[in-house]
């Protein structure tokens, strides 16, 4: 075989492999999508300051809170409701986190009644440093809340650093969330 012929057949081989390479790229791309949770939405607020709002205190209707309560971070901002079973599931662990000294601000989101929410905290324990009451979901709307529970990680400068959708439990706390919180604490000390 002459040199030219060898080059020609090499070129042919490369051309034949193009569809295979494209196929592999497509498979990798689609496999990556397969492992993704389609219900998980990225928050738009990441690295942005907490939005402005006013909300009544859950226990004391005469007391008004604003976004200032979230600017005393690093802290967690937890959205919950009594109609939400997953909130019930994570409540025990929130109590534990609060006992460890982690400040958690609670937002009672579109609950059936103020009384029901108060009962819940009185019986199950109150992990929250401040309890905001949001019967119409107005505060939650500002945060782009699309379900409960959601937990926002807010740093010392009052910026949203992370949004966790679903329950906070010992496993995801150890694996991921604790690290995010500790990072915020570390930055606050600097």
């Amino acid at each position: 075989m002459s040199r030219q012929e060898t080059q020609g057949s090499n070129k042919k081989w490369i051309v034949l492999f193009v569809p295979l390479v494209l196929f592999v790229v497509l498979v990798v791309f689609l496999l990556k999508g397969l492992g993704k949770d389609p219900t998980h939405l990225e928050s738009v607020l990441i690295d942005k300051p907490v939005p402005e709002f006013t909300a009544q205190d859950l226990f004391d209707p005469t007391q008004q809170h604003s976004e200032q309560v979230l600017k005393k971070g690093p802290l967690l901002f937890n959205v919950w409701a009594t109609w939400c079973p997953t909130c019930r599931a994570e409540h025990e662990f929130l109590n534990e986190l609060a006992a460890q000294g982690i400040p958690i601000v609670g937002l009672n989101y579109k609950d059936d009644s103020r009384g029901k929410a108060m009962d819940w905290l009185n019986t199950l324990g109150d992990p929250y440093t401040v309890n905001l009451y949001d019967p119409e979901g107005k505060v939650a709307f500002e945060f782009g809340v699309y379900g409960a529970p959601e937990t926002y990680f807010i740093d010392a400068e009052g910026r949203v650093r992370y949004r966790h959708v679903g329950d906070v439990n010992p496993r995801n706390w150890e694996n991921q969330l604790k690290g995010i919180y500790q990072q915020m604490v570390k930055e606050a000390k600097q």
């Binding site: 389609p38 219900t39 939405l41 990225e42 928050s43 738009v44 579109k110 119409e136 979901g137 709307f141 500002e142 945060f143 782009g144 699309y146 379900g147």
Partner: protein
Amino acid sequence: MRTFTSTVISALALLATLFSLYAVGQASIREHAFETEAQRELYQTLIQELRCPKCQNQNIADSNAPLSADMRDRTYTMVMEGKSRKQIIDYMVARYGNFVHYRPPFNWYTSVLWWGPLLIIVIGVGVAWAMSRKRKQPLALSEEEQERLKQLRKPDHD
């Protein structure tokens, strides 16, 4: 006779069920009053175009999710306040992200969505053209090869 009566009864029952379903469907959409036709139109287009964040693929007009109801109410309030289409969409996107709008904006991340199909057509047409051109080329054999071909064609070749 008996079968005829029972058929009529079951047909009536079916009709009644359908009507009640229709009534339920109507009741789930809260009526909003508008001052002008333009407001109604703007509201209608917006709720068709805005996507429910809680659902996988439904606009807020079709979705029964409480969040969709909240978003419809917010859209209505903003329309009545005289906000423009763009203002309302920006407001929703600022809270729920680009997910919330069925028409993604054109930027670096979405460019592949807009140009991808065109690119694939161009590549396809290109490949087809290149292949058809190649096929048209006549066989160019060297003298050596001609000779070999002749040999191969001989019926009693061994």
